[in-house]
Amino acid sequence: MHIPDGYLSPQTYIPLYGVFVSVVAVAVKKVKQEVSARDIPYLGMAAAFSFIIMMFNLPVPGGTTGHAVGSAVIAIIFGPWAAVVAVSVTLIIQALIFGDGGITAIGANCFNMAIFMPFAAYYIFKLLSNNPAKRGRVVIAAFISGYLSLVMAAVVTATEFGIQPLIASDAEGKALYCPYNLSISIPAMAIEHMLIFGIIEGVITALIVNYFVRNEPSFIYAFRKGGKNE
């Protein structure tokens, strides 16, 4: 899901940089209020976990590869704003040092995996589960949150890819950037994430949330945060 350089037109990546920078500005304020000094080493470890989990490329047999992201579990345990910071740092390091995701596409990739995905995951989880005592329900909610948020982030990414031929083509009608339109990009990315990668994201989210709700329930932001702040 890491969009490389050259696949997005400036008309796409520049606004997404703008959105990314604005959201990070808010995230900094929110993290200041919400993250305690105790949580900081764990947040660093969570970001490292996200980095590592994205290296596990999983195959669609005979086709493409993909991976889980880890944004869902980070959003549930540390809150979506802390997830914005942790996963953005991860994605920027992947782009700069490992060439995974383009430099021009940092705003887009952070929007998809570090902003859209953790917020989607967090609100899906909150919608499905609000009582840490009902553990079965917590674990199922965590799975659905991981699964759906990754699939939805893949569809958002596919939309960014798929609108490129509409935005920028040369005189001969050839695309200047991503050559595939929405009717190809959306099914391709949605199906692979629905069948394989989303399930992995869901399982990871469920396993880790299950561990914390059993052993360290006070960590879980989604249960600490009351109704009035939502």
Partner: protein, 111 residues
């Protein structure tokens, strides 16, 4: 470092050591690039031309450990696994430190 932190650290290191699964599994199941992450050359094979913007921007940035390897021409899957593990450990460590420093800066300034 407390008990939970040690536990997480051990799990992270173990995960790094098995990251080559991310090379072996796609190779075994004959799977290629992620969707939309093809090289300019591969796009040419797929659609018959290289989009002009793609030709201009792709490969502009020379990442020091591009594709999580120090030598992409090395065909040995054992060597590539080694590079992959080192990339995983390096990347995870840098990510940890940067998030730690940024969060400390943010939280300290706020209190």
């Amino acid at each position: 470092m407390n008990k939970l932190q040690k536990k997480i650290l051990v799990i992270l290191v173990l995960l790094c050591l098995i990251t080559p699964a991310g090379i072996f599994l796609p190779a075994f199941f004959n799977a290629g690039d992620a969707w939309g992450e093809w090289s300019a050359q591969t796009v040419k094979e797929l659609v018959g031309y290289v989009p002009k913007g793609l030709a201009k921007y792709s490969d502009k940035w020379k990442a020091p450990l591009a594709d999580y390897t120090a030598d992409s021409k090395d065909k040995s899957i054992v060597h590539q696994s080694g590079y992959y593990i080192v990339s995983g450990l390096t990347g995870a460590a840098i990510t940890f430190v940067v998030v730690l420093l940024i969060s400390r800066l943010i939280v300290r300034n706020g209190k």
